[in-house]
Subunit: 141 residues, 4 copies
């Protein structure tokens, strides 16, 4: 399968459809069924003590898999997150961006499944892993 | 087991330790191993189209189970979220608060487990369910 | 919504379509969007040490939610399990049956979601909780 | 970290402590924080229609991550599965073994986390993914 949207196309999509998070995210690379997404950490993402909040990490994984789907099918319709599971494994490094390595594991007619491994930038041990399932509207199939 | 913190005690804890979300949340009731938490929905929680975002629902469930743990053990130490799973089942009603019914299913020496059923206020069918696991630091046991 | 299959109808379905597990399971009650299922524990379900195995508990929850779906839609087609999450919370009591209290939380056109709380018979504290998602084939809608 | 048990050591452990499943499993390779495990499919694992059952796939992932932990810490004590999430993505190929590629993502003092990607032997697209969390007894730390 070929890519329908490259990193520039996905960045333009983010800026237009998700203006509230677009400035926090950088698409570092995109390939068939895979994508690398960086979250620029600032005050909005932090909990007391300086660690990145759980919802921020969940949001990074959610947007990452969503963009990996759009890269394959194009910006034609809205996939909807139907379920997720996340394991929070380590405390993110203070002051470091988070980087999500996303794999698309299934891109079916009605369901898509992907996972993400999230690292603090420059640290090998992952801080979280997440898997997400999306329901794909009929028009998108 | 007796409650160590009632709704007023938990509200004071939220205001002091989670000032960034305290004004969005109302503890409606608390009982041994159970809690009802309301999220006052505003612009910050919305996605394009007017639905509440996935990270906002995740955050509601996460804080809800966390508060149910604190109600039982007191505000002595920080439990850490180690894993969660969420099913997003229906689109939240536009303009309605979300209400989470939280059950604490296990409160062990090292792990606590709870779940939450989330409704749009005034609508019977749930919009999401979530289950969460917390690691409890030694001092808290 | 009305029940399409009662406990007798579900039991007959189990005996015909799942002969390999039908003799281990008893449908104790069925109601709209809810079902109570007992697993008669024997040697096949045990791990060294006498506890019920994880796969056996997973199977109980999986069949329980599946039967709750069939009770609502009738034995017309095969729903397929697409995802599950399980929390194993306590060691099951030795020599006791397991009882699953199943709730159907969503029964949509393409997806169904349910959860199960599993107890050792006669013990209040749950041993496990599980949530499961099923994809419903078009003919079933 | 060095391996405490190699494939032969893990195979001997399986035969002694899990005689009921040892003959169905082959450890194909083991490395620090990684393991490849094959399930020899036979009648016991099949559902009507010839597909491998969900509980069998869950069991494969569960034993796979468990063995990856033992490879690192040695056969000193029993880690207990505390939670899992599984996505069932495709129908396994009829008559083919299943192969699980296991990664250990965290091996902490009290919790270990791993995931598994499961393929039908000889087919690239995965049939399932699973993530599992284990509680590690104090003596094991």
């Amino acid at each position: 399968m070929e890519l329908q949207l490259d990193a520039d196309g996905l960045t333009a999509f983010l800026a237009r459809d998700f203006p509230q998070v677009a400035d926090q995210l950088r698409i570092e690379s995109v390939a068939p069924m895979a994508l690398r997404l960086r979250m620029l950490i600032d005050e909005r993402h932090l909990r007391p003590g300086g660690t990145v909040s759980g919802p921020a990490m969940f949001g990074l994984a959610d947007v990452g898999v969503y963009l990996a789907i759009l890269a394959m099918v194009g910006p034609v319709a809205l996939a909807v997150t139907t379920s997720c599971s996340v394991d929070f494994m380590r405390k993110p490094a203070a002051g470091a961006d988070l980087v999500a390595e996303v794999r698309l594991l299934k891109l079916g007619r009605v369901l898509a499944v992907g996972d993400a491994l999230i690292h603090s930038d420059g640290v090998a041990a992952p801080v979280a892993r997440a898997s997400l399932t999306y329901s794909i509207p009929p028009a998108m199939g």
